[in-house]
Amino acid sequence: MKKFGIALGLVASLMGSAVMAEAIKATPGGAVNLVLLPKFLGILPFDQADRGAQEAAKELGNTGTYQYIGPTPENSAAGQIEMLTTATTQKQGVVMLSNNAGDQIAAVAEAAQAAGTKVVTWDSPIPSGKGESVFVAQVDFGSIGVVMADMVMSMTGGAGEFAVLSASPDAANQNAWIEAMKKTLAEDAKYKDLKLVDVVYGNDQSEESYNKALGLVDKYPDLKVIMAPTTVGIVAAAKAMQDEKLCDKVKVSGLGLPAEMVSYTMNGCAPEFALWSFVDLGYLTTYTSYMLATGAIKGEVGETFTAGRMGDFTIEADPGREGAKRVLMGPFTVYNKDNVEAASK
């Protein structure tokens, strides 16, 4: 028994890094009105987050309300600002936001906090961190850079040209990942023979991404890999390479959904891609929000808490955004032909 106690203490100290504090547990049965606000409605990743959030709310026995609301795609940024304002006047407990409005939303988020509605971001943070209680980060933005570089490495066999097909030029999360990848390429000598020739943007539209992918192969005849860190871009690029029968020459990789990518992974057009679980992200965000609203945690750096089936997490300073705080989820899964079929079900 004593031995067990020591082991537990060791684990806790490892988890909580410098702090020796024990993980805080949630008290179930509280009443917190939760709102999950994605970038926009109608695409799979956000629906998966909704599933995870519902699972957590049920587990916590939350007697408050839970709403999954969001703007339509063409009204994303303005719609988010409007919905956050409405949630504040309705005196909601926590708004869980995947921000698509950049820093424009910061003023509204600060007003929400002042009125007693907490704002917890997930997937995409508020760049300045203003008005945000904490950001639940899917993965460490720096480590995505390493994974992207490694996938290019394995697909090119260590040397050759590649290009990036991103979402929109002002998408905060994608831009951070591309910067992280550039840094990785520059700092580690093992990537010295990889050459990033271009970064283009498909604006998360299949037609634009498709045409941009074809443009890349026309522009760079020696191109070996198209790296698309967006779920829309990666499918469009894979389809373009398959249509042009270029899959032997140009491989597609990046961040994608197994259900959408399975046929391209099996036929070799996109042999390898990565993603994290959006179900888990919704689940962890809901735990964090609930515990913040019930006062179990204060949202201060160093606090460690238990998020149900996912284990212990610690609030830390966000290395990418000065003065902002994050809860780091991680890790992600790399999909290839061995595991993609099971994951696509």
Binding site: G42, Y201, K219
Partner: protein, 327 residues
Amino acid sequence: MHPQTLRILALAVALLATVLFFSTQIDGYLSARMFTRITTSAAVILPLAVAQAIVVITRNIDLSVGSIVGVVAYMTGDILGQFPDLPPVLVCVMAMGIGAGLGAINGVLVAWGRVPSIIVTLGTLALLRSFLVEYSDARTITTASLPAWLVDLPQANAFSVFGLDVRVTVVLALASAVVMGLCLSRLRAARRVFAVGSNPDAAVMAGINAGQVVFWSFVLSGALAGLSGFLFLAKFGNITVVAGMGMELKSVAAVVVGGVSVLGGSGSMVGVVIGTLLVDTIDNSLTRWELVSEFWRDALLGFLIMAAVTVDTVMSRQLGRLARKET
């Protein structure tokens, strides 16, 4: 020379100049591959531009075409997923039928509800997108769920001339423009479209049922947007709720550059085809041009629209003055 003929000639020269200019800038530009790239990408926009042209000629505008493309592409893909054995022709007709139905909503509101078309179609642009979000339930249509004939359709060749491949989708899109062009210039009923657009009051005095003409032009616009939706589904295969978003702007650009007057009453399908080609050629070429950064493409497209409208306004004013002097 008739001013309309003059304009088409000027457009053709502009297209030729664009192609020649980029051939000096981009390696391997004058190739069969580039021809296929541009024609197949323009084919998705062309029916939409034809649709927009008909509506603009009646002195209206249809901003909902992009949303109609999205809804039609998604619903057609969804239905095909459940009934993969539907015959191809029926699928195409069905796509156009869904589009026509959606266009009829616009038509009723504009023609008999007397609401300005810009308001009505701005409303349906948002409404149809919201409907799609509800209808889709966040599922993605993937190529894996579509029948092989549809997935292979964009690669299918209709015929080749001088080593240039003309794809089936390109023929389909061109056919829509040719049929509409012939109807507008030859059919008596279709001439009413011009009459209503150039002077609605005079048209009514002349015994034309202006409401009916406007209604049917929106139905037709919806049907053609449906054809675009079908081609969109075939070409891109993976359809989410953002499908077709923003395409209304491209269609307006093609129509305006193609010389259809935004004041209604004038325009030709030949102009629309060249306008579509010109806009799409510029778009595709800038993507491959190393000198111009990503961020200037949209600005250039905007500049092109403004230039086209300005030239249009100045020219018609000058022509009007000349005509007055002669009499």
